[in-house]
């Protein structure tokens, strides 16, 4: 089921495009990785889909007639650690879009937040102060907050930044499980290894003057394409279903 259709959308800042026009359909159950070098326009595209900034031109359509319910996971560093809030209080914020402005969260909202924390393996952290958690635990709490609102579409901005390898893998397994539960997942990352084994589709962006490549992972993730985008030799090695990406060291 299509949730959002972008038609010739141009994204950018102050009227200056950062990407060429893009046609993109976001569906339930998809796991889309948005990849590209630093400063290539990934986050700008995500913020436009989230309606945090207006597109320069083009159309954003909602096939169901209304905007889907989105769960947003910002970059972890963007969340203020000085607020003395518990993991449960933060997860409950994901329900605020449903609660209404003047109302207080009820027991159903707290239960939904606890369920979301449990889903991401952070149920035991509900009463813990957010600022006292490790980076991986904080990331789980932010994902739980997005999940607590029972979203149709989950959008994540660089969720793997600062995570060690096991934490990163555990988080990616979790996101893949959401896609299997028919939630659309869109993950912006500059970390190619994070999407090589998980995203079903990729959107490769590289600034305003290069075309956007969009398609199934195996088609987009090729050594030639990545080498061209990054301006250096990048190798995509395939081992059955798995892909490994590396930059070979040039020996004189």
């Amino acid at each position: 089921m299509n949730l959002i259709e972008l038609r010739s959308i141009v994204v950018g800042h102050h009227g200056r495009p950062v990407l060429p026009p893009i046609d993109l359909t976001l569906r339930r159950g998809m796991f889309l990785g948005v990849i590209g070098p630093n400063g290539s326009g990934k986050t700008t595209l995500l913020r436009t889909v989230l309606r945090l900034q207006a597109p320069i031109s083009g159309l954003m359509l909602y096939p169901s007639g209304k905007a889907p319910r989105v769960g947003y996971v910002p970059q972890r560093d963007a969340v203020d650690l000085s607020f003395p809030l518990t993991a449960l209080e933060i997860a409950t914020m994901g329900r605020y879009g449903r609660i209404g402005r003047l109302a207080r969260p009820g027991s159903a909202d707290r239960e939904a937040a606890l369920r979301a924390l449990g889903d991401v393996g952070a149920g035991a952290l509900a009463g813990s102060a957010y600022h006292a958690l490790s980076g991986g635990q904080r990331q789980r709490v932010l994902i739980a907050r997005a999940l607590a609102g029972e979203p149709d579409l989950l959008l994540l901005d660089e969720p793997a930044t600062g995570m060690d390898l096991p934490s990163e893998r555990a988080m990616l397994d979790l996101l893949a499980s959401f896609a299997r539960r028919n939630i659309g997942v869109v993950m912006v990352t500059h970390h190619l290894g994070a999407v090589a084994d998980y995203a079903s589709e990729l959107c490769l962006v590289a600034g305003p003057s290069r075309p956007i490549t969009l398609g199934p992972r195996a088609e987009v993730l090729t050594s030639e394409r990545l080498s061209e985008i990054y301006g250096t030799r990048v190798v995509v090695a395939r081992l059955g279903e798995h892909a490994s990406i590396y930059m070979p060291r040039e020996t004189p």
């Binding site: 910002p74 000085s82 003395p84 994901g94 605020y96 402005r101 207080r104 102060a129």
Partner: protein
């Protein structure tokens, strides 16, 4: 010991000023939690300065209109203009948050400087100089003599602002903590920030008139900062900040009466003393509990 009876005997002297100071302490320390958490402590200094421009302007306009300041129509009342100027400043600061091309502290600093300069210019006018003593009272507060009208205005504003904050607690916290996430859930963050900042303006303008700029700045920043050090739960931080500020207002006022000290400064100095006592109590009871 001998001062206690005389303090109690002088009840009629300190009842209203202490009530006003206590209300200012409660009001400022409550909204101060947002100010400290959002790292905009100098907003309170800038808004205080802007409300001062409003007071000075009220006197100047009254003299231009040929009206005796105390008999001026409501729209030239110093307190009304103090709020109007502070509200305009608060609106500018809150709307700036939505379009951050310059750091918030730079905008607040610019507001403080311009308001300070404007106040000096207005007070320098020959039309106002003869009223300078009275203007200073209005600008920096006079915690000794409080007219009944001021007591009621302070009470009404305290109840109104606290009621609004209790009603909108969840939304103010959400927009302050993660405005971007709030926007993705349909909140008009600029509007919520605007309303929040207008409550700062109201709290600061009425409190500055009541107790002066220094105690207002102190009540905004110090109790909230101390409470954040003492508690890891947000609702406890609000409660602790209010308790510390209230105890400091009462303690500072008593010290000022007892030893003939400046009232505003005494209340500010009492804040870390009370916060230290709360920390010590917490330590003792924490140890007992463990």
């Amino acid at each position: 010991m001998d001062a206690a009876p005389s303090f109690l005997d002088s009840y009629f002297l300190w009842r209203d000023p202490l009530a006003v100071a206590a209300m200012a302490a409660v009001l400022c320390s409550f909204v101060g939690v947002y100010i400290v958490l959002r790292r905009i402590v100098f907003v309170s200094a800038a808004l205080s300065q802007m409300s001062g421009v409003g007071v000075a302007t009220a006197f100047w306009l009254a003299s231009v209109a040929g009206v005796e300041p105390h008999r001026a129509p409501w729209y030239l009342h110093p307190l009304w203009l103090a709020f109007l100027f502070a509200a305009a400043g608060a609106a500018a600061f809150s709307l700036h948050l939505a379009r951050r091309r310059i750091a918030a502290e730079t905008v607040v600093g610019a507001g403080y400087l311009l308001a300070g300069a404007a106040m000096i210019l207005v007070l320098n006018s020959p039309r106002v100089t003869q009223e300078t003593h009275e203007v200073n009272d209005l600008l920096y507060g006079n915690a000794v003599a409080v007219p009944p009208e001021q007591l009621w205005i302070m009470a009404a504003c305290t109840v109104a602002v606290l009621a609004l904050h209790l009603l909108l607690y969840k939304d103010f916290v959400f927009v302050s903590f993660d405005g971007e996430m709030a926007r993705t859930l349909g909140y008009r963050a600029w509007w919520w920030n605007f309303v929040l900042f207008e409550t700062f303006a109201l709290a600061i303008s009425v409190s500055t008139r009541a107790v002066g700029a220094l105690p207002v700045f102190g009540f905004m920043v110090l109790p909230a900062a101390a409470a954040l050090l003492l508690s890891a739960r947000l609702w406890q931080v609000f409660a602790l900040a209010v308790i510390i500020a209230l105890a400091s207002a009462v303690g500072g006022y008593y010290a000022s009466f007892r030893w003939s000290l400046p009232t505003g400064a005494s209340m500010v100095v009492a804040i870390p003393v009370v916060a230290g006592a709360v920390a010590a109590l917490r330590l003792v009871f924490g140890r007992r509990a463990s």
